[in-house]
C-alpha cells in the first residue's frame, strides 16, 4: 500500500480549506463548490483504493488483519519515553471510517452545490466543510491518543463554525456556543483520562498503550490497577474519563443537550457532522481502546448503561418532537446509544466479540441511512421553507424521489429486511441476547419505538393532509440534490449485505455474521407493529394522535420538553453555579481587586491634585519660594546652628 495515498486522503480536504478560506470569498466564489467537491471526490476514490488494498491485498498474519502505522514522525518529545507522534494508523476500523467519512462527505458536498447556492458565504461554507473533513479523517487515522485529542478538538471547532454558519440568527449563535461549551466540558474529562493512562503506561501510542495495559503481568498494568482514588482503580478512572469525552461528542445522556440545538446549522451539515461522522467519534474512540475497555468491567458497564439509557430516552423524546430535524437528531442519539451498549456487550476476541462487530456494523449502515434522511429533510425544508411537521403533509406528489429515498431510510432504520439497518440491528440484538437479557428487552422495545417515530415522521411529511403549495415553487430539487439521495438510498439497501464480519472484528480475525430467521422474527414484528401504529395515527389527517397526547397529560408535556434536562442544566448553571461561584467571584473582582487598583489610582490623583498648585509656572511665585527658602535657611543658621 502506498503511504502517500493515505497521506493524501486528509490533505486534500485541508488544501481545499486553505485555498477556499484564503481566496474563496474574493476570487473563487463561483468555483468554490466545484473545488471542494473535486478534492473530496479524489479523497473518496483514494479511500476506496486504500480499503481495497488493505482488505484484499495486504498480508494477514494468522488470518488476522494487522494494524499498520505509517509515517510515524516524532512531533514533540518530552522525555525519552514519552513523545507525541504524528502518524497514520491503518486498521480495519480506521479504513472503514475512511470510506464512510469521505463518501458521506462527498455526498454532502454534492448536495450542498445546489442547497447552498446563492449563499453569501458559499465559499466559506465549503472551506469549513473541508476543515471538518480533514479533522475527521485525521481523527480516524490517529496513531496515538494525543493526536486523536488534537483532531478531536479540531472537529469540535469545525462543528462550532458550521452550526453557527447563519451567524445573524441569535438561535444559531446560541446553539453553536452550547455545542462547543458542552463538548469542551466533556473533553476536559478526556484530557484528564489521557493523562492518567499515559502517566501510568508511559506512552501515548495506541499500540503500545493497548499492549501494556492488556498484559496483566506488565509493571504498567500493575501500577495502574493498584493506584486508586475513592476506591476505584486508576485504570477505571482513566477509561471512564475518556468515555466522558466520547459521550460528550456522541451526545450521550446526560451530555446530549447540544445535539438537538445543533440542528440550527445548514441541513447538509447536520447530515455530515451530526448524523454520520462526528457524533460517532465517541463510539470510534471506545472501539479504538476496546482491548483495554474489555478488561475493565466497571468502565464497560458505564458505557453500556449510558448507551441504553440514551437510546431509550432519545427514542421516547423523538416521538413527541415536531421539528423534523430534531426528530432526526434524537433518532441519531438513540442509534448511537445502540452502538455504545452494543460495544459494552462484547469481549475481546472470537465469538464474544460479536457486540464489537455489531457496533461497527451499525455505525457503518447508520451513516448511510441517517445522512440520507437528513439530506431528504434538506430537500423538504428547501421546498417548504419550514422545519415544522405541521407545515408539511401530502408532499409525496411534489417530491417523488425524496419520498422513495426517505421511505428507504425509514425502513432501514426501523430494521425491516432487506434494508441495511436490519442486518446491523440483528447483530446487536444477537450480541445482547447472549450477554444480558435485560438489555436485550430494552433494546428490542427501543427498536419498536424507533420504527414508530420514524414512520410518524414519514407519514406526517408525505401523507397526512393535502399539501398547500403556493407560489411557483412546484418542482423538486435538481440533480445535485437528487443524486446523493439516490446513491445513499442504494447504500442503505446494499450496505447490510456487506459481509462485515470478514473485515471488522475485535481481534482482526474473520467472524462470520449469521442471520437466524427465528431470532429476527420478534424484532421485525415489533418494527411492523410500530409502523402500523404510525400508519393508523398519522396516515390520514385525524385527531387520534392529539387525543392520545391529551390523555397522557403531564407525561406528554414532560417528554415534549425533553424531560426538562435543558432546564435542569440552566438551573444548575444559572442558579447554582452563577449564584454561588460566579456572583461572589464577580463581587470580589469589582469590589476588592478593582477597588485596590482604583484606590491606588485615586490616592495618587488626590495627592497630585493637592500639590500641583506649587508648580504654577509663575515666575514670581517661584521667586517667593526661593526667598522664603533663603530666609528659612538664614534663620536656621543664625538661631539653631550657632
Amino acid at each position: 500500500m502506498n503511504e502517500y495515498y493515505v497521506a493524501l486522503i486528509p490533505i486534500l480536504p485541508l488544501a481545499s480549506f486553505v485555498l477556499l478560506g484564503i481566496f474563496g470569498r474574493k476570487y473563487l466564489k463561483e468555483f468554490s463548490g466545484t473545488i471542494g467537491t473535486l478534492a473530496l471526490l479524489v479523497s473518496c476514490v483514494l479511500s476506496l483504493i486504500v480499503a481495497k488494498s488493505y482488505f484484499f491485498d495486504s498480508e494477514k498474519i494468522n488470518g488476522a488483519y494487522q494494524s499498520i502505522v505509517l509515517m510515524n514522525h516524532t512531533w514533540l518529545s518530552f522525555t525519552p519515553t514519552i513523545s507525541i507522534q504524528i502518524g497514520a494508523m491503518i486498521d480495519p476500523i480506521s479504513v472503514m471510517m475512511l470510506v464512510v467519512v469521505t463518501f458521506v462527505s462527498l455526498m454532502v458536498h454534492i448536495f450542498s452545490l445546489e442547497y447552498m447556492k446563492g449563499e453569501e458565504r458559499f465559499a466559506t461554507y465549503y472551506a469549513f466543510l473541508g476543515l471538518f473533513t480533514f479533522s475527521m479523517l485525521g481523527l480516524v487515522l490517529s496513531s496515538n491518543i494525543f493526536q486523536i485529542y488534537m483532531f478531536w478538538e479540531l472537529v469540535g471547532v469545525s462543528s462550532f463554525l458550521l452550526i453557527g454558519y447563519y451567524y445573524e440568527k441569535p438561535s444559531a449563535v446560541a446553539a453553536s456556543k452550547k455545542a462547543f461549551i458542552v463538548t469542551r466540558f466533556a473533553d476536559l474529562g478526556f484530557l484528564i483520562g489521557i493523562l492518567i493512562l499515559s502517566f501510568h503506561a508511559e506512552t501515548l501510542d495506541f499500540k503500545l498503550l493497548i499492549a501494556k495495559l492488556t498484559n496483566l503481568q506488565s509493571p504498567e498494568y500493575l501500577s495502574i490497577t493498584t493506584g486508586s482514588f475513592l476506591g476505584i482503580s486508576a485504570l477505571t478512572w482513566g477509561l471512564c474519563l475518556i468515555f466522558m469525552g466520547g459521550a460528550g461528542k456522541s451526545a450521550m445522556f446526560p451530555l446530549h443537550i447540544w445535539l438537538p440545538d445543533a440542528m440550527e446549522g445548514p441541513t447538509p451539515v447536520s447530515a455530515l457532522i451530526h448524523a454520520a461522522t462526528m457524533v460517532v467519534a465517541g463510539v470510534f474512540l471506545v472501539a479504538r481502546l476496546f482491548p483495554i475497555f474489555s478488561n475493565t468491567e466497571a468502565a464497560l458497564h458505564l458505557v453500556g448503561y449510558v448507551g441504553i439509557i440514551s437510546s431509550m430516552f432519545a427514542a421516547i423524546i423523538a416521538c413527541t418532537q415536531t421539528d423534523i430535524k430534531r426528530v432526526l437528531a434524537f433518532s441519531t442519539m438513540s442509534q448511537i446509544g445502540y452502538m455504545m451498549f452494543s460495544l459494552s456487550m462484547a469481549k475481546y476476541g472470537g465469538e464474544n466479540g460479536l457486540g464489537y462487530l455489531a457496533s461497527m456494523f451499525h455505525l457503518f449502515t447508520h451513516a448511510f441511512f441517517k445522512s440520507l434522511m437528513f439530506l431528504g429533510a434538506g430537500v423538504i425544508i428547501h421546498f417548504v421553507h419550514n422545519n415544522d411537521m405541521s407545515a408539511m403533509g401530502g408532499l409525496r406528489k411534489y417530491l417523488p424521489v425524496t419520498n422513495i429515498t426517505f421511505l428507504i431510510g425509514c425502513l432501514a432504520i426501523s430494521g425491516i429486511p432487506p434494508f441495511a439497518g436490519f442486518f446491523s440491528k440483528e447483530e446487536i440484538l444477537t450480541a445482547c441476547f447472549h450477554e444480558n437479557k435485560t438489555m436485550y428487552w430494552l433494546a428490542l422495545i427501543t427498536s419498536g419505538v424507533t420504527a414508530f417515530y420514524m414512520f410518524r415522521l414519514y407519514f406526517s411529511i408525505f401523507w397526512n393532509k393535502e399539501a398547500h403549495v403556493h407560489g411557483d415553487h412546484h418542482h423538486e430539487a435538481g440533480w445535485a440534490m437528487k443524486l446523493p439521495l439516490i446513491l445513499l438510498a442504494i447504500c442503505s439497501i446494499g450496505a447490510g449485505l456487506v459481509p462485515f464480519g470478514q473485515f471488522v472484528s475485535s481481534d482482526g480475525l474473520v467472524l462470520p455474521t449469521h442471520i437466524d430467521l427465528g431470532f429476527s422474527a420478534l424484532p421485525v414484528t415489533l418494527a411492523v407493529i410500530g409502523i402500523a401504529i404510525a400508519w393508523m395515527l398519522y396516515k390520514n389527517e385525524n385527531s387520534k394522535s392529539s387525543a392520545i397526547a391529551v390523555g397522557l397529560g403531564g407525561v406528554y408535556t414532560a417528554i415534549c420538553k425533553k424531560f426538562y434536562i435543558d432546564e435542569l442544566y440552566i438551573f444548575v448553571t444559572k442558579k447554582i453555579i452563577f449564584n454561588l461561584i460566579g456572583r461572589p467571584a464577580a463581587w470580589i473582582d469589582t469590589n476588592i481587586i478593582n477597588g485596590a487598583v482604583n484606590l491606588s489610582a485615586s490616592v495618587t490623583a488626590a495627592v497630585s491634585e493637592s500639590i500641583k498648585g506649587i508648580q504654577s509656572g509663575r515666575l514670581q511665585q517661584y521667586l517667593l519660594y526661593f526667598f522664603g527658602g533663603v530666609a528659612a535657611l538664614a534663620l536656621i543658621f543664625i538661631y539653631l546652628i550657632k
Binding site: 509656572g617 509663575r618 514670581q620 521667586l623 517667593l624 526667598f627
Partner: protein, 104 residues
C-alpha cells in the same frame, strides 16, 4: 565729623532690599522688575561699602567688590533690556504673565 552709626546704614540697606524684593514679587511689568533687581543689588553694594568702612578700614576688598557688582549689573541690565525688547517685539507687551507659551 561725627560718623553715622553702622546700624543706620544697615537699616537703609535692609529697607532698600525689601523694597526691591516687594517690587520684584508684585509687579508684572518686566521693566519694573528689572529696576527692583537693581535696588536689591544696590542694597548689597551699600552693605559691602559699609562693612568695609567700619570693620576693615585699611583694606579695599569691599570697595572692589562693589565696583565689580556695578559693572556686572550694567552688563546684566543690557542683556535684560535686550530680552525685554525681543519680548515686546514678539508679544507687544512687557507683562510677564503674557509670555506663557512654555508654561506647563
Amino acid at each position: 565729623m561725627s560718623q553715622t552709626p553702622l546700624i543706620q546704614i544697615l537699616f537703609l540697606s535692609v529697607g532698600l532690599f525689601f523694597i526691591g524684593m516687594y517690587g520684584l514679587l508684585t509687579r508684572r511689568n518686566v521693566i519694573t522688575m528689572l529696576m527692583s533687581i537693581e535696588l536689591i543689588l544696590n542694597s548689597v553694594n551699600i552693605n559691602f561699602v559699609a562693612f568695609n568702612k567700619y570693620l576693615y578700614p585699611h583694606q579695599l576688598e569691599g570697595l572692589f567688590f562693589t565696583i565689580f557688582i556695578i559693572t556686572i549689573a550694567a552688563a546684566e541690565a543690557a542683556v535684560a533690556i535686550a530680552i525685554i525688547i525681543n519680548l515686546y517685539r514678539s508679544h507687544h507687551s512687557v507683562d510677564v504673565e503674557d509670555a506663557n507659551e512654555l508654561k506647563w
